[in-house]
Symmetry: C2
Subunit: 493 residues, 2 copies
Amino acid sequence: MSKNPVLTEIVERYKPIWALDHVASLLEWDMETYMPTGASKPRGFAQAQIALIKQQRVLELAGLVSKAEKLGDLNDFEKGMLRVVKRELNYYMKVPPKLLEDLRRTSTEATVVWREARRKSDFPMFKGYLEKTVDLKKQEAEKLGYKGHPYNALLDLFEEELTTNDVDRVFSPLVLNLKRILNKVLSEGKFPNKHPLESLTYDEAAMRRVNVEVLKLLGMPESTFRMDVSTHPFTTSMSIEDVRITTRYEGKDFKESLYSTIHESGHAIYELQVDTSLEYTPLPKASSTAVHESQSRFWENFIGRSREFTELAYPTLKANLPFVSGYSEDEVYRYFNSVKPSPIRVDADELTYNFHIVVRYELEKKLIGGEIEVSDAPALWNDLMQKYVGIRPEDDAHGVLQDVHWSGGGFGYFPTYSLGNVIAGMVFHRIKKDMDTKDIVRRGEMGRIKAWLKEKIHSYGATYSPKELQKRLFGEEYNPQWLVNYLEEKYTA
Amino acid sequence: MSKNPVLTEIVERYKPIWALDHVASLLEWDMETYMPTGASKPRGFAQAQIALIKQQRVLELAGLVSKAEKLGDLNDFEKGMLRVVKRELNYYMKVPPKLLEDLRRTSTEATVVWREARRKSDFPMFKGYLEKTVDLKKQEAEKLGYKGHPYNALLDLFEEELTTNDVDRVFSPLVLNLKRILNKVLSEGKFPNKHPLESLTYDEAAMRRVNVEVLKLLGMPESTFRMDVSTHPFTTSMSIEDVRITTRYEGKDFKESLYSTIHESGHAIYELQVDTSLEYTPLPKASSTAVHESQSRFWENFIGRSREFTELAYPTLKANLPFVSGYSEDEVYRYFNSVKPSPIRVDADELTYNFHIVVRYELEKKLIGGEIEVSDAPALWNDLMQKYVGIRPEDDAHGVLQDVHWSGGGFGYFPTYSLGNVIAGMVFHRIKKDMDTKDIVRRGEMGRIKAWLKEKIHSYGATYSPKELQKRLFGEEYNPQWLVNYLEEKYTA
């Protein structure tokens, strides 16, 4: 906390902004879970109004922030708070209201059109909106300013200080190593590329019971956490005492629902373990998108897809999904970790997932940098898929149209998925110096892992930038070697 | 709509206030339905911050409202809008922030203590908070100003321009007539004071199916309406396209769940039928608390507890609740309309309900007027119950501690329940001039009744004050005779 009167006033003046973020989260959560389908228009109106009120309140902090910048000798909380507020203020000061409004309206309209275009695999239908979006994002990058590539301005919105140099430095060795491991796995056949459990259907109520039991295995709290259903699983935090995930039930291939639940729980554990002294300040949130993703991936893959977790969950699976009894723990483990190059990112396994990200990263960089036109995107997508995944999508619905991100203006987001995997690898490497995670998972003592993550990462919220946080904990930033080592051992040892 | 630039600017400046009301409704709805139990504190914090932001935005309208007051020749929309905004502004201008904050904090704390005090039937435990609340409400009345009794200032908060003179004029003949009808019913035994169906237990899923079918009978829309579960059923409107009710399932005496559902649907129909041109303005809401209650009571009692509706719903009841088959339509109708003086307001039947309200009204008037002390309340409550209902509560949990309203500061609210019944009687009398409701209900053509209510009441939202609305539609205000006539015919004909 702070004793400085200027910083204390910033904390005080941030309280309504915290409340506006709280309601923005609830508006979003409700829209994806329980809101009546006919209520989109007034909901969109309310969201836009709340965003404008927030913008005004943030801009009102400009004078205080100027004063605070002249202060020396700040503690970590004070530095972090000032850093986060300055980032918000910087955005609203540089991006004019007209551009903000254009971005917002285009996003709403483009998302509707994209949904239809994907359904029909009709890229020309979406092309105009994608052009408009790319143009607006280029304008946003110019307004925000950047060193080097204009894409850096957009990367920074999701991952503070991240540049294309950072990403290139990570992705080059990652791709080479993953290709090597993948080829070995595919030739050895230790993990299947298709498993009979994928096609077995389940009862939704039974699968819900499995997920509820898994939440217990993960030690998710009952009074400050809940799980609902939505088409696209997500996590939202209204406050440190109110974190919610959603999962999905598609009726077959039960690992999809199971690992959605574990993935979102990983995000939720982060939000739930922020130090409560940060509540109502600018800091009770993740350090960055990639750090957030590292936590979901850590629980989903490093813990959740381990041999030991399979063992721990096996009795629950058998008790609720009768067909599991026909398969040994080993078989279920193989099912959980099947490896198969496929055209769709969200269906990808641990090994091929990052190739999908590289495809998007290269495309986005070229689009924002003006090296290619939107009309070039479908063909280039397919070429890059061929190059990295070894697959040519059968149509644009399975290619360039598959993700929602671009219609929402989320250029710069994709790289954080792979960087999340990279950081999860660093966490896994680091935590093993302090404890035998295999043994702990086998015993179901998740509380010990959670306590470690809380102490090293979660409790700070956004006090440290992602690079600072990594330097403090690992002594290095975004090092892909640990992810590679983990995958190599898991898939080829 | 308005072409005047001053009024147009008020409409424009009201949009964020509309959005703040939208989120306040969602925060409340979520708190009562899905919010994790441990999240009360941050939720309360967010609600208080949003209320402060709203207050500031309303106060910023003062200059425009002053200008608008000098304008002549306004249309009904303009007059209504100005009236509603002036009421909000008047409240925030007269009640100082310190008092508002005291009211809010006392309400939060008192509600927690009240819950515990009621559980233990321990009035002394609650007494200090009730004294504090009464004191704050007296201060609020003084700040707001009033003619005649100070309680008038509080009545006006729920029912515009309502005075104790109005209430006395309504309640005196109402009590006399209801006593007469009640005595006749109790001596004749045409309606039971206890029915075997009360004690039969139901399966919650089956009862939910009944309620869903009843929503269909009422023609509730699927894309702009939903029903959830909460301890205390309520209706909330986020927008004209997003209206939600809750109901409750206590496992036996199925009419409780059924009539909760119909009651709240009555409120919801009002909110859903406001003219969409009023969206985002100050007007898409009910004219008053009593007019709102008249709509819920109209559907719950005048329609829902009718012989014809019983007939309409009977097949659904039999299909889902097997035990209903043992009872004829006549018996189910008698069960729906059993009459029994009882100590608890929320369990009361159509005839004795208003006596409970009179007890509260007389007590509140004396407390706010300073004629009695809070310490006198339990004994006076019991005396008044004896006088009006003919029952002496066995303890304070069944007496003065039973309602949540006082802990929340809702002095002045109770009379609107009975006034709602009175207005429902007026609606019933009036609509029968235009259609044969019995025949229409028997045929299940609720759309015709809804269309009438929309045209005469709902479409206007808060354009007209409750007195204006009544004068326009009935040529008179709060006339209890039509409620008496309806009850007399139903229970003694």
